[in-house]
């Protein structure tokens, strides 16, 4: 049985061969500690990090590559931004479809005296910027929103959310875990002050890589302090980016792999990645509409979705459907609550969750057609 991997929203697979080679080549030929010495192996490592920063800056529309800091994942980047920026008494506004990588730090901060407003979304996951605007006050320090829901796929109007945040002098933080590399992003044009990305999804890099864009002028204290290789005469942590957010030896092989993935996306073009995913979404959503008992969550229009579709078969638990898809058809999906209880409450799929099909560069129309055939067969046999 052919294995059909449709869990790219959890992590992309398989990785592009250039990513694998970059990791190996870095360990073979660039094995020094970047920024810790001037010898050639350290410099090779530093150049790999630099190339990764340049590629990410280009992909995100950052004004300068020093605005890009690397972390181990989007969760760490979001924690740096949220825990660094928010103090007791501050007001923060977020949406009703956030991942736990945003909600858990926010609930923790709420216990510390930060005031939190969660703006409800429509059932298809869309947040209305006007609803956000109505909650903002002079004490609102931050608006934080996902670029696209990991459960519903809904693409949020981030440029408008940035605009309403800036009107009251608040910062705007975007969780781009589902979209960096898959959807066009321009942090300057879209008014994004900080953006957290993961390396191992649409950017095709290894797991354990991610990062944070911080707009020059945003004074964000770091989460960790320590060795940076720079300003070594001082016992105070440097205040300049990216060193400020990169205490300790970074994951150079992983980030070199991320650089290869990001460069591949840049060469291929984000617009082409997006066109491919919209084609798959269109075929899948059209096909699903003809299968009895399939309930699809999120926007109807492929153009309003990231490359994922959550669904259920009426009367069947997501775990049972996921198991049948794997055992009967080799289709690997994500089942359950996808680490985002708020989004499932919005969709009406709490507490059972849903089965999520998510697409990537290696996904073909054949994979989508096989999935439709499997769902149709399972739907028929569930009633016998």
């Amino acid at each position: 049985m052919e294995q059909i991997y449709l869990d790219h929203a959890a992590t992309s697979w398989p990785k592009h061969p250039a990513v694998l080679h970059a990791v190996l080549l870095t360990m073979e030929t660039a094995g020094g500690n970047p920024g810790r010495a001037g010898h050639k192996l350290a410099m090779q490592a530093a150049r790999r990090l630099g190339a990764a920063r340049e590629a990410l800056a280009r992909l995100l529309g950052a004004p300068d590559s020093s605005c890009i800091s690397f972390t181990k994942n989007a969760t760490e980047a979001l924690n740096v931004a949220l825990l660094g920026l928010l103090r007791p008494g501050d007001h923060v506004v977020t949406t009703g479809v956030e991942h736990n990588s945003v909600m858990r730090p926010l609930r923790y901060l709420q216990q510390q005296g930060v005031r939190l407003t969660v703006v409800p979304c429509a059932a298809d996951g869309l947040v209305d910027p006007d609803d956000v605007r109505k909650t903002l006050t002079a004490t609102t320090r931050l608006v934080v929103a996902t670029h696209a829901s990991n459960v519903l796929g809904t693409i949020q109007p981030i440029a408008q959310l940035g605009e309403v945040a800036h009107k009251v002098g608040a910062h705007f933080l975007v969780d781009a875990a589902q979209t960096a590399g898959a959807l066009p992003i321009d942090v300057q044009a879209q008014g994004v002050d900080m953006l957290a990305f993961t390396g191992h999804k649409a950017l095709l890099g290894p797991q354990g890589t991610g990062g944070l864009y911080v707009r020059p002028g945003v004074n964000l204290p770091p989460l960790l302090r320590g060795g940076t290789g720079s300003a070594s005469e001082l016992e105070e942590h440097p205040e300049f980016a990216p060193d400020r957010y990169e205490a300790g030896t970074p994951n150079v092989p992983g980030i070199a792999g991320l650089a290869a993935g990001a460069e591949h996306i840049l060469n291929w073009g984000v617009a082409r990645v997006r066109a491919h995913e919209e084609l798959l979404l269109t075929r899948f959503l059209d096909g699903l509409a003809n299968i009895p008992d399939v309930v699809v969550y999120g926007p109807r229009e492929p153009a309003r979705r990231a490359g994922l579709v959550s669904l259920n078969l009426r009367g069947i638990s997501p775990a049972a459907l996921g198991q049948a898809l794997e055992e009967g058809y080799g289709i690997l999906t994500r089942v359950g609550l996808h680490c985002a209880p708020a989004a499932h409450r919005t969709a009406g799929t709490f507490p059972d969750g849903s089965v999520r099909f998510s697409f990537g560069g290696s996904t073909t129309l054949d994979h989508v057609n096989t999935s439709l055939k499997a769902l149709e067969e399972l739907s028929v046999h569930a009633r016998t």
Binding site: M1, Q323, A324, E327, G328, V335, G353, L378, H381
Partner: protein, 101 residues
């Protein structure tokens, strides 16, 4: 062929993976499955095994310091619609022949 009619649920997939290893070491048939929602919401992964050996399995896991949430009697037929059991058997058959087992 034992029916894997027992389900062990876990708080963390770390312990699910450790439990899988313990059962393999003791030649106890097992298979990881998405955790049936009606049994637990703690962790997405559960481990199926023959329920008749539950006492020994619980002991082995305790000795290996593997933490689990609970052990349930939960025949597979109970978690899948009746029509799917024969469908899945039919779909899986060609692969078995190919493996020569």
């Amino acid at each position: 062929m034992h029916e894997l009619d027992g389900v062990i649920t876990f708080f963390s997939s770390h312990h699910a993976v450790r439990a899988e290893r313990v059962l393999q070491l003791h030649n106890i048939p097992n298979r990881t499955v998405p955790c049936p929602r009606e049994l637990s919401s703690s962790c997405g992964v559960a481990l199926r095994f023959p329920h008749e050996g539950r006492t020994r399995v619980a002991e082995l896991l305790a000795i290996a310091n593997v933490q689990f949430e609970s052990i349930h009697h939960h025949p597979e037929a109970q978690s899948l619609p009746p029509g799917w059991t024969s469908l899945l058997q039919r779909l899986k058959r060609p692969e078995r022949k190919g493996e020569g087992s």
